[in-house]
């Protein structure tokens, strides 16, 4: 069934978009990532203009992460206090990111910078997560050392401004989570994504939060970041396509619920190794696009773009 999108000005298959939204939604509910790093390339692949893909992707991710965050909140796996501190840092970081983005725009080569940032961060985060979760999986398989409940004392325990996070069972300084939030906000403004794929491992490995709480808390923060992004795009670039967003989010919210259910059945190590593989795959794809000669060297854009 073909549907004409009023802002993108193209006609697309509604079922394809619904399926795409559903797929991203499942990932979102399962891993606590917004899915922006998958959504934007996939939308462009089916012929949506890049600007519309980025802006509308943000709108859709906002919906699916809200749906996912609600599910986690009801199950008590959302650390609101931690989420708010991440968010405070995130807002500061995204303002800085927008400023840097404009600077890069004036220098040209934004597209290249975005691709390189993607490759760098997806590669590093994916590889770290893969190695760690593989090790954990092998440990669990051999049964040699059952997980030691005692947590490592990280930097977060030493810094001042300590605060109690009952949901995460943590008593740590607020400086590291705020810094992580700021980094994620900064990157999401530059890369046009929610930043879940950076935040989730950061919360697990740097803050020592339990994986079960991490997902809901990440979704909580992403929901706000993408909400602000949607508003910014709607008022400044006019590239939010509500029709496209509606199709994506109908698939997405359903997918997020399925993902949240699936997440309860899978083990934490398996979840992390799956996410690591997906992140690495996307990283490889972007790296290959940069390295291999494209079949069409030319591309068209509206004349107003720099």
């Amino acid at each position: 069934m073909l549907i004409y999108l009023p802002i993108a000005e193209v006609s697309v298959d509604a079922l394809l978009i619904l399926g795409l939204g559903g797929l991203i939604g499942v990932l979102s509910g399962l891993f606590g990532v917004g899915g922006g790093f998958l959504m934007t390339p996939l939308l462009m692949l089916i012929g949506i203009p890049p600007a519309v893909a980025v802006a509308t992707g943000a709108n859709q991710i906002c919906a699916s992460s809200f749906s996912g965050a609600l599910a986690h909140w009801r199950r008590g796996t959302l650390d609101t206090r931690m989420g708010l501190i991440l968010l405070a840092g995130g807002i500061a970081g995204s303002f800085l990111g927008v400023w840097v983005f404009e600077l890069l725009g004036r220098l040209g080569q934004v597209e290249l910078m975005v691709s390189l940032t993607y490759v760098l961060f997806l590669g590093v985060v994916g590889a770290l997560m893969f190695v760690e979760s593989l090790r954990a999986l092998i440990r669990a398989r051999t049964g040699a050392a059952p997980r030691i409940p005692k947590r490592k004392r990280t930097l977060a325990h030493k810094l001042p401004l300590k605060m109690r996070f009952p949901v995460s069972h943590l008593y740590i300084s607020v400086i590291p989570p705020a810094a992580i939030g700021a980094l994620v906000g900064f990157l999401s403004a530059i890369m046009g994504v929610g930043g879940g794929f950076i935040m989730v491992p950061a919360m697990i490995y740097l803050l020592g939060m339990p994986t079960s709480v991490v997902v809901g808390t990440s979704l909580f923060q992403i929901m706000f970041v993408t909400g602000v992004t949607t508003l910014l795009h709607a008022t400044q670039t006019f590239t939010v396509d509500m029709m496209l967003a509606l199709l994506l989010l109908v698939g997405g919210v359903v997918g997020a619920q399925i993902g949240a259910q699936l997440g309860m059945k899978l083990r934490a190590e398996q979840l992390r190794i799956l996410l690591a593989l997906i992140v690495l795959a996307v990283c490889l794809k972007i790296a290959l696009d940069l390295a291999i000669e494209p079949s069409e060297l030319y591309s068209l854009a509206p004349a107003s773009a720099p």
Binding site: C62, L70, T230, A234, T235, Q257, P294, Y298, P302
Partner: protein
């Protein structure tokens, strides 16, 4: 679409009636539009009248039909409201050589294309006749039909390799590139149209895409210009050659041009050229208005006129959908 559906039988009836009785088109008799009207079956006289071009006497056939000409108006300057067939005043833009009194009358199946939510492309049927004041010459008349979308500048970027990475390096602006362009003709363009006439009327696709000031910023602007044509062809927005104009009895002609699903809004100009030995004898222009309607129109207008409200609405829809799904699944689980 309704207009087209009704029109087709009328035209078919007109064509069918030709060989039996009507020599009329070969003489200075009734204008073909009237012929079509007469020949049309009584069941469908209305659409034939509605879209008939202005007749020789200059009387508009129907005062408020959408396809009626306003005498003296020229196509491109016509008000944009609604799609209306506008006939060129006799003699203007239609160089007639050696007192050859051949003219072209033409009409479109519909002058308004509505982009609805389920729009997936449409087809425009262009038909007409050659009007003569003296017996026809021996050779078959040549006809070219073009339909062009709104034209404007477009940025072209080219990727190049540097430090082992393929990235956009050079870019330039092509000043004039129509959003859609289709050419249909009775034969290959270079055979039926002289180079000078092609230049004058910019019939060929190659002449529609123009770079005026691009020479300065890149070394080979020509390859960027060719890239525009190539990319637009791939998207189905530039169409040439395979579509043909059929000519019946040296007088009537018809063709259809498919508008793809990815067209943009605007006034599309349909041109019908009548040619003889490479020279343009007459030219007929009409406007096809392509407009978003209904929900598409409303959303587009809101996003441009009240972007903050649009953004908030988008957020509200997103949050409502997220909450709705969450509640629905909770209810399912119970």
């Amino acid at each position: 679409m309704i207009g087209r559906a009704l029109l087709l039988p009328a035209l078919v009836a007109a064509l069918a009636a030709l060989p039996s009785g009507a020599q009329a088109p070969r003489t200075a008799g009734p204008a073909p539009a009237e012929l079509a009207q007469e020949a049309a079956s009584p069941g469908a006289p209305e659409p034939a009248v509605r879209s008939a071009p202005r007749t020789e006497t200059g009387e508009p056939p129907d005062g408020d039909g959408p396809g009626v000409a306003a005498p003296g108006q020229r196509g491109p300057q016509a008000p944009a409201g609604g799609g209306q067939v506008v006939i060129l005043p006799e003699g203007r833009d239609a160089p007639r050589e050696g007192g050859d009194d051949e003219k072209v009358v033409a009409a479109l199946s519909h002058n308004q294309v509505s982009i609805t939510t389920t729009y997936s492309g449409s087809e425009i049927f262009v038909f007409g006749a050659v009007k003569r004041s003296r017996p026809a010459r021996a050779e078959r008349p040549d006809v070219i039909v073009t339909i062009s979308g709104p034209s404007g500048p477009v940025t072209v970027r080219r990727k190049d390799r540097g430090f082992g990475i393929w990235a956009n390096r050079e870019s330039t602006v092509i000043d004039q590139a129509p959003a859609f362009y289709a050419v249909a003709a009775t034969g290959p363009l270079d055979e039926i149209l002289s180079a000078t006439e092609n230049l004058r009327h910019r019939v060929g696709l190659d002449l529609q895409v123009r770079a005026i000031g691009a020479a300065s910023d890149v070394e080979d602007p020509e390859s960027f210009r060719e890239a525009v044509i190539r990319l637009m062809r791939v998207r189905g927005l530039y169409v040439e050659a395979p579509i043909e104009v059929d000519v019946i009895e040296d007088t009537l002609f018809a063709t259809h041009v498919a508008l793809p699903a990815n067209i943009v809004e605007g006034d599309y100009i349909a041109r019908v050229f009548l040619l003889n030995e490479g020279k343009v004898l007459d030219l007929h222009e009409s406007i096809v208005g392509v407009r978003k309607v209904g929900l598409e129109r409303w959303l587009y207008a809101l996003s441009r006129e009240a972007p903050l409200a649009y953004g908030l609405l988008a957020l509200a829809v997103a949050l409502a959908a997220g909450w709705g799904a969450s509640e629905a699944f909770r209810a399912l689980r119970r």
